[in-house]
């Protein structure tokens, strides 16, 4: 009963978050002091053309009406039509969503365990060589924007130094994203190198907190083997923060994917987002922004619930 109530409360908070985000997205993309129709058609367009465009996309309706129409469309799975070709958005974004989700999934699959491993090991070997080396290199990697990191990787591995991986990925329309695994390597490497240092620092900090706790010292003073101290006494207390780390990881990727896709011409939602912004394709921008926020909110929700389930102090408070 307690848990259900808690899940419902978190869920409500997630819905609230999405609602606020939808307002922000709507206002920023459509209602800022500018005319979307003008922005799309350009300065030379005639009044009639502009009026026709407005009528076609419902821009002549009152703001509230436009907003509710948009939300209804989002909820019913028909988020509107593209300004550029009049096609339903989902028709040409479907494959791209699949591609991007695959990229993010693969990225998480590599970087989450890697961050946990590096972070925990650095914590165990605190202030020793590995920790110090990792500290400096992760600092440098985390400071650089993804596209700079990616550009260096392309210089190193795809052109001038060693020409071993393709600099762009080729996924033909209708083909699954894993049809060009070789092309996936550099995008994945960029994402991983961008995310892992950041996340492993968080892991290291929370591991150190656990390892320096009184209860871990007490475990040693009880004469327990180091293995038991680590796995039975330290790990269960480090798992809660780990869920947060996973959410962090996914969130970071959701942002990084736009840049990485642009760099490698990866046909995903990030590239679609860039193009849509460039072409003032407002319905596509709005949909993608909501979609990425949705992923973000869901991940956070899952992480929160996970944390509560593995933390007795939080879990027992419910009953």
């Amino acid at each position: 009963m307690g848990i259900l109530k808690l899940v419902l409360r978190r869920l409500a908070l997630g819905v609230l978050t999405l609602f606020v985000v939808s307002l922000a997205v709507f206002l920023l993309s459509q209602a800022l002091p500018s005319d979307p129709a003008r922005a799309v058609l350009g300065r030379e367009a005639t009044e009639e053309n502009v009026a026709a465009f407005r009528a076609q996309y419902g821009l002549d309706q009152p703001m509230i009406k436009q907003y509710t129409t948009w939300i209804k469309g989002l909820l019913s799975g028909e988020p509107g039509v593209s300004y550029s070709n009049g096609e339903p958005i989902m028709d040409f974004l479907g494959d791209r969503i699949k591609n991007s989700l695959f990229l993010m999934f693969m990225g998480s699959l590599i970087s989450i365990p890697l961050s946990l491993l590096i972070g925990s090991y650095a914590a165990l070997r605190r202030d020793k060589t590995f920790d110090n080396a990792n500290s400096v290199s992760s600092l440098i990697l985390a400071a650089m924007p993804e596209f700079v990191l990616g550009a260096f990787l392309v210089v190193l591995f795809a052109t001038n130094v060693w020409n071993i991986f393709p600099a762009t990925i080729r996924i033909r329309p209708g083909e699954p994203p894993w049809s060009d695994m070789k092309g996936m390597i550099l995008p994945l490497l960029t994402l991983t190198l961008a995310v892992t240092p950041y996340v492993s620092r968080v892991v290291r900090a929370s591991m150190i907190e656990v390892l320096e706790s009184d209860y871990v010292e007490m475990g040693r003073l009880k004469g327990l083997p180091e293995r038991t101290v680590l796995w039975r006494h330290a790990m269960p207390n480090a798992i809660g923060p780990t869920f947060q780390v996973m959410a962090l990881n996914v969130a970071y990727m959701a942002g990084g994917v736009v840049v990485v896709e642009s760099l490698f011409n990866f046909p995903g939602i990030g590239l679609a987002m860039r193009d849509a912004v460039r072409d003032v394709n407002i319905p596509v921008v709005q949909f993608l922004a909501m979609f990425i926020s949705f992923i973000y909110v869901i991940t956070n929700l899952a992480a929160d619930i996970g944390t509560i389930l593995v933390t007795p102090r939080l879990r027992t408070r419910l009953s």
């Binding site: 009184d214 007490m218 004469g223 327990l224 269960p236 207390n237 593995v310 007795p312 102090r313």
Partner: protein, 595 residues
Amino acid sequence: MSEHVTLDIRDLRIEVDGTGNDIVDEVTLQVPRGQVLGLVGESGSGKTTVGLAVLGHARKGVAISSGSIEINGRALLSRSAKDLRAMRGSLVTYVPQDPSMSLNPALRIGTQILEVLEHHGFGSSQQERRERVEQVMTEVALPNDRDFLRRYPHQLSGGQQQRVGLAMAFACRPAVIVLDEPTTGLDVSTQSHVLATVRDLCHQHGVAALYVTHDLAVVANLADRVAVMYAGRIVEQGPTKAIFDNAQHPYTRHLTAAAPDINSDEPVIGLRGRAPAPGKRPAGCAFALRCELVTDECREQFPVERPVLRDHLVRCFQAGRGERLTPAQTPVSVRRDSESAPALQIRHVDAAYTGHQVVHDVTFDVPRGQCVALVGESGSGKTTLTRSVGGLHREWNGEILLDGVALARSSRDRPTAQRLSIQYVFQNPYSSLHPRRTVGESVSRPLRVAGASAREASHAAAEMLERVSLTAAYASRYPDQLSGGERQRVAIARALVCKPSVLVCDEVTSALDVLVQAAVVELLVGLQRDLGLSMLFVTHNLPLVRSLAQQVVVLADGKVVEAGPTEQVLTRPEQEYTQRLLADTPSIAAALAAD
């Protein structure tokens, strides 16, 4: 030394890793089977470090560099990590200071006790081990049913958590047990029960116990022998009675003179200064800096440990010399102006903390020129009440009158003159001074608020610093250059600088070591006498009240249980609660008389 020495520590030296600076040096201690040795020292004296070393453990940055530790004749320090692990938790066990931090929050308490038995190969079956868990739970007076064992630490009270710690320590029937201030943070009744349990179990199972503490009264009640530690060395050790009745080392004599006792009306005597930290210790005796018997010899070399009587050892060239310590000031003689109105009147005050009522209909007065002690255990509502008086807590109803005038709820709604008339000294001197402001700036700030010019204010501040026995030179220092006692003096100076009608002291000595605590109490007594201060002194420390207050108000669960003149409340309490509180408060005098 008596037969059956179970724990034998010889010439133990522990250093700060890599620097060669000693934390602990030349420590030699023996504890026979079934006896309790009280290891007494102020914070930073190295007592916990010795306690952990008995388990072959040194914290990060600390290394055991020489000496030997034997338990039942088995050397401990030269062992491999694996051997050491086998001994820890079974042959020698540890009860930590703060059970809420040292029990694993993610594991059920049953599991945490059981795993000790499992890893040390106790019994032949899980059934047998479970039975032992139930047995030790009974021994420490906790329920041993399945439901209770399946609880997590946070579902237990502080006292229960510490009992689980004891159960864990006694589960394998160790030869030696190290208890590191296990009752800190517990209220006196819980403390007295935990101590009784410790005493019974040690005697019953013939365990040699090393009880590490700063609390002399606890030691007097529990220990067979006492070792006194100062700046990393044992300066005196002997039978408990000898240490208290016939102390040879000036430091020990100061300790006993500084410890307040519930059954004694002698004023406490303080000593200022602090023990030198590792790396800053002198070549000679570390106490020489504070000792009134100091000679050139003391400054040149550290005295060796030599016997005074059989079993009573001391490290001092001047051992046994010097007169009995007497207070520097004559005891308080308070003007009792019965005609003048009370300085502070509290009338039917109810107070709530985040919507939860914690103070119920409290009424008492602080007569002018007197000190009223508000005594209560943690959770009694005393802090909420005092913060309401100071205007720092807003959720209260009723009337608080200062010089006959009703006060507004929040300090912000009170006129400046009123605010300056009630001054507050806080519990923790490490947090009550702005770290980036000089002492002078902090002390003169109230005067600036009152509208004084910068010159006047700093002049008055300098004068006030002299008043609290600091020099005017302190005005230009920053708090991080001061000791805890000095900081608390600065906080007192800040509170007194604009001559308040009422001084509220909230547990002002609880963060200080006993010698410094006594020195601060002496200062307050002197200030009260000289300035005719009206004081509300809030504390959980009942014995301390005797040296200081003319009246006592006992608070429990937010209600006044008993109030009256100090002597009457402490010697002839009428209420059962007060009687129990007094009975549970450990007393040196009572313990020695009982032997």
